[in-house]
């Protein structure tokens, strides 16, 4: 009796919809410009500093979170092949919304023909705004308030010139169309969220660049929250790292996700397809979920995937995902994430400064 009660309490910590839901369509977006980390090192450390990644993606002059979200969402809808007017929520998670006040989500909803019978809102939770929007979408669909909800995580991340974050602060993200499990290319069986007030990284109002707690961003922030979320999820679902074919974690650099994966018992092979940070950088709200698109592009029916995001401030969302046979004929309906990574134009620091509008023109 006591054992059963204890189990129920544990189960109640998992977020589980009353009706099963999953991913009906997904889409990635990465801008075409790349700034090599060695170019930043050349400018700021005379080429003597270490580089945390190979290169990062940089948005074009005419790109922002709205335009990038539109393309990712078009890819998600192309894969889902549903009538966009059936979508009842458009939620965009980002820390670089183009406006301080005026939703990104209404622009995206309008461009995709989802208006006017829909919810629309912008979300913010540092790097986990995208998975927050996904879990809210799971709730909306899982309660049958809506048949479909669109959740997006997208950023054109800011890094102070010369700061450690400038090497990695990149642009990109992904869109997920959440719908009923029987239409899904991947079923989301459970999610679990772990959140505390931990001041590892922030950006005050009207400030251009964020502040961070240097090494404080590691142990008490990234590692504590991701391991707690992943371990609790695995404990409550009775799984270990071996039960998952793939895992993907928030990826602010190469070192952190590799170390957290090893700590949780995952092999380098399990995280390789979702570890995109070396070639595109840290896409903030998009980082974990664009990694998941890399996995969905190659996964087979029956594969189980663990995704754990991390947002500074701080928290982690863990997802227990099961791939279905519907993946097979849907994934080729839109460009794969590798195609976006391969589409690449290298720029130098001067062009980067222009493209990120760091020059005072008047």
């Amino acid at each position: 009796m006591n054992e059963k009660k204890e189990l129920n309490e544990k189960e109640s910590l998992l977020l589980q919809p009353s009706h099963p839901v999953g991913i009906v369509g997904y889409g990635a977006y990465i801008p075409r410009y790349r700034l090599p980390a060695k170019e930043i090192s050349r400018v700021w450390t005379n080429g003597m500093g270490g580089t945390p990644i190979v290169e990062k993606s940089v948005p074009g002059l005419d790109e922002d979170v709205a335009t990038m979200s539109i393309e990712a969402a078009r890819n998600a809808l192309a894969r889902a092949n549903i009538d966009s007017s059936k979508i009842r929520a458009v939620w965009v998670g980002s820390e670089s919304h183009p406006y301080a006040v005026k939703p990104t989500s209404t622009i995206v909803a309008e461009a995709l023909g989802i208006v006017p019978h829909t919810q629309a809102a912008d979300w913010e939770f540092a790097c986990k705004a995208g998975t927050e929007a996904m879990i809210a979408a799971i709730g909306l669909v899982g309660s049958r308030m809506a048949r479909y909800a669109l959740a997006i995580g997208m950023d054109t991340a800011q890094g102070r010139p010369g700061d450690a974050l400038e090497y990695t602060a990149a642009a990109g993200g992904a869109a997920y169309l959440i719908g009923p499990a029987d239409e899904a290319l991947a079923v989301i069986d459970h999610t679990y969220s772990y959140v505390t007030d931990t001041p590892d990284f922030w950006r005050r109002a009207y400030q251009k660049y964020p502040e961070h707690g240097q090494r404080f961003t590691g142990e008490p922030a990234y590692f504590k929250h991701i391991t707690s979320a992943a371990q609790t999820m695995m404990e409550f679902t009775g799984t270990t790292a071996q039960d998952f074919k793939y895992a993907v974690f928030h990826q602010p650099n190469i070192k952190f996700p590799k170390r957290v994966a090893a700590k949780l018992g995952f092999t380098p092979e399990q995280i390789a397809p979702g570890l995109l940070v070396p070639m595109i950088g840290n896409t903030y709200s998009g980082a974990a979920i664009i990694g998941l698109t890399g996995i969905l592009d190659i996964a087979e029916p029956g594969d189980r995937v663990l995704m754990v995001s991390f947002g500074s401030g701080a928290g982690s969302d863990a997802f227990d995902i099961r791939i279905t046979e519907k993946i097979l004929n849907r994934r080729d309906r839109a460009p794969g994430t590798k195609a976006y990574i391969a589409r690449r134009t290298e720029i130098d620091y001067a062009m980067y400064v222009r493209m990120r509008r760091k020059l005072v023109m008047r």
Binding site: G60, D62, N81, A111, L112, N329, A334, A339
Partner: protein, 139 residues
């Protein structure tokens, strides 16, 4: 400040929504409610595929007001798959040379700011080289 005009044009600008003539099935862009082919009334909305080919192009070095920050940029006449010709900027060219007949696809991008940095952001269609594959398979 042209808020009303930007708002009125949003569907055609964001998603290439034109019209299809119910009489002769000609596709119209921009939407004009009267078919230029048969003269009949044509008010049925039609979303274009966004695919087309470069018919001609030129590069702008001395840009008009509102577009200076993007110069130099390339403007093209794009012949859409469905027939109409549209004028639009090309984007995401990287180091690529533009050629007549080059296949392109529509993307929604930031066109300009209405006024200064306090003004409305204006979004609309541009075209880029068709290089990311797109396969339309049946489920």
């Amino acid at each position: 400040m042209e808020i009303a005009r930007h708002w009125r044009l949003k569907k055609q600008r964001y998603a290439l929504v034109g019209e299809v003539c119910p009489h002769c099935h000609a596709k119209l862009f921009p939407p004009r409610d009267v078919c230029p082919e048969c003269g009949g009334e044509a008010k049925t909305p039609y979303t274009f595929s966004g695919r087309g080919k470069v018919y001609s192009h030129t590069t702008i070095y001395n840009a008009p007001e509102g577009f200076q920050e993007f110069a130099p940029y390339t403007v093209a006449l794009v012949k859409l798959e469905e027939g109409p010709m549209v004028t639009a900027q090309l984007t995401d060219l990287g180091d690529q040379e533009v050629e007549i007949g080059m296949p392109v696809e529509m993307v929604t991008r930031r066109l300009r700011t209405d006024g200064d940095e306090r003004g409305l952001l204006v979004y609309g269609y541009k075209f880029r080289p068709l290089e990311l594959y797109q396969v339309a398979a049946a489920d």
